[in-house]
Symmetry: C2
Subunit: 66 residues, 2 copies
DNA sequence: TCTTTTTGTAAAGTTTACTTTACTTTTGGT
DNA sequence: ACCAAAAGTAAAGTAAACTTTACAAAAAGA
């Protein structure tokens, strides 16, 4: 699964730590998701979408391998 | 987190087993998600959205407690 | 009513998400 | 060049997702 978290953060100009804070997870969790080290739960995906005011599908996209 | 999987299945007239098959998980996984026993991964949420041709947010909704 | 399909659950096991702590590297500002 | 903030990553532990097997209850169809 691909994600556009880095881009969305850049547009909003917030750090991984700030995003983590707004969503209620650790900074490492954000980093790990952003760098594709693991797949977040749907609750996290919905919270991110809410923070960025975008649809989940705009932030996370399936790949062939999924 | 709430979900409308049961309703979407009803509209498409497919069983839990058929949905599980289309998404590539076990029937118990679908049942457990549908009955709120656990939160699916974002990959699963995206696949369900694809099967139902709806947005993730139309199928899964955050609650206060999330 | 009888039979089949569907749904609900449970237990045990494996994998993966997520946490905390901690350290290194990179980036940006002055 | 120096300093501070941000990002990357790793290790160890806990929690939760997901699997398989299995069985019971409910719903649906004949």
């Amino acid at each position: 699964m691909k994600n556009r978290i880095k881009v969305e953060r850049a547009e909003k100009n917030i750090s991984q730590a700030e995003l983590a804070d707004q969503i209620g997870v650790s900074r490492q969790t954000i980093n790990s998701i952003e760098t594709g080290r693991y797949v977040p739960s749907t609750v996290l995906a919905l919270k991110m979408a809410r923070v960025f005011a975008k649809r989940v599908e705009e932030i996370f996209q399936l790949e062939e391998t999924d």
